[in-house]
């Protein structure tokens, strides 16, 4: 069990930033991102303990949990994921300090525009351009073929560009 714990500890260290970033970009709140990310790794650890050998791709496995938790979060809160920029949860400015990091006006516009995309487009952009996941992995996460995934990524970027003009 100690060996398992150590292995998962390394997995945690390797992917915590990525999962947090993914969740944060989708929910827009530091507190909620922390809760959902924490829950992702907790569930990940519970499954890892029992079925380590069955997990082929740990990164995809964690993203899948995170993705589902975000969907559940919005379902529970009775919100849709396509929200207008004005309706984004505005965290306490003293706490949502990631916002303060991206001071460049362009980044603010991109974040708002990203949040206006549908779930698949958002995920595609985050996974491909930010996290540079291979197309094969993105395709598995999106449950599409590699060809369809490439098309989706291209459409997502175009949609993002359009949204940025409007923001």
């Amino acid at each position: 069990m100690d060996k398992l714990r150590k292995t998962f500890g390394k997995i945690y260290d390797r992917y915590i930033d990525k999962i947090y970033r993914f969740v944060f970009l989708k929910v827009g709140s530091k507190e909620i991102a922390e809760d959902l990310t924490s829950e992702t790794f907790l569930r990940g650890w519970e499954t890892f303990k029992e079925k380590q050998k069955e997990i082929e791709n740990v990164q995809a496995f964690l993203y899948q949990i995170a993705k589902n938790l975000v969907v559940d979060y919005y379902r529970e809160k009775n919100k849709t994921q396509i929200v207008s920029a004005e309706a984004l949860p505005i965290a306490d400015p003293r706490q949502n300090l990631e916002e303060k990091i991206a001071q460049n006006l362009d980044l603010e516009r991109i974040k708002k525009a990203l949040n206006q995309l549908n779930d698949d487009y958002q995920n595609a952009i985050i996974w491909h351009y930010l996290e540079e996941l291979p197309i094969k992995e993105i395709a598995q996460l999106l449950e599409k073929s590699e060809g369809a995934t490439r098309v989706l990524i291209s459409r997502a970027l175009n949609a993002l560009r359009e949204n940025i003009q409007k923001v």
């Binding site: 500890g9 930033d17 970009l25 922390e34 924490s38 650890w45 460049n104 930010l130 940025i164």
Partner: protein
């Protein structure tokens, strides 16, 4: 926005990272604490010396740590211990030094572009500012009149200085500090200074400045009132 530029900007979103403290606490919560046996043969004297050596090094390294670093809580713990042994006379000075320290840490982080420490540092500074202001109110309220006035001027001056430095640091981040909703400290200090001026003989110039200060107080602009007072003719020795 051109596609290339858009993709470059998307990659900049990689700056978004969780707070280090939260990362460590969460890992501990999920996986429990890691216990790694270090010594297989236990030699009391050697072990004691090694432990002391490690602790000493930790304290030394902790002094240079920044919010978000692993040893930062140790640095804060040492500071807290220092405040327990300080005399009542020294307490005001130490209180303000703490706020100054947090601001220096924040400035260091901004200058060295340590993005991952930025969030914890801003948090720490805001927390300290709130505590310092509470402390200032307690200090001046419990002093006899003459001493209260002297301290009010000194502490008021320091608060304004900190406010100016804070503005500069936030300016390098292309933002401004959040609105000051709690001006209790500034209000308390201004009240002491207004009362003092009321019981004094003022020159014509001082009377004019005094009206302006009272106006600031009436409109609840305590910080601006304090800033004005400290640069006005009132902030000279008034005749009693």
């Amino acid at each position: 926005m051109e596609e290339k530029e858009l993709i470059q900007n998307l990659k900049k979103l990689r700056q978004i990272k969780p707070e280090k403290e939260w990362v460590l606490l969460t890992k501990e919560k999920i996986l429990g604490r890691e216990i790694t046996p270090v010594f297989t043969v236990f030699k009391p004297a050697f072990a004691a010396l090694t432990v002391f050596g490690i602790l000493f090094s930790l304290f030394v390294f902790a002094q240079n740590s920044l919010p978000g670093d692993l040893l930062y809580p140790l640095k804060k713990a040492v500071e807290k211990t220092q405040t327990l042994f300080v005399s009542q006379e020294e307490k005001p000075k130490l209180t303000l030094e703490l706020a100054d320290k947090r601001l220096k840490e924040l400035n260091q982080i901004v200058q060295n572009n340590k993005i991952e420490n930025l969030a914890p540092a801003l948090n720490e500074f805001e927390k300290t500012k709130t505590e310092v202001k509470k402390e200032v109110v307690t200090i001046v309220k419990n002093k006899p009149k003459e001493e209260a006035v002297k301290l009010a001027k000194e502490l008021g001056g320091k608060l304004i200085e900190i406010k100016k430095k804070e503005k500069n640091v936030y300016a390098t981040l292309n933002t401004e500090p959040s609105e000051e909703t709690n001006q209790t400290a500034e209000k308390t200090i201004l009240e002491i200074l207004i009362k003092d001026a009321e019981n004094s003989t003022l020159t014509e110039e001082q009377k004019e400045d005094f009206e302006k200060v009272k106006e600031f107080y009436k409109t609840q602009e305590y910080q601006k009132g304090l800033e004005f007072y400290l640069t006005s003719s009132l902030n000279k020795n008034v005749e009693k």
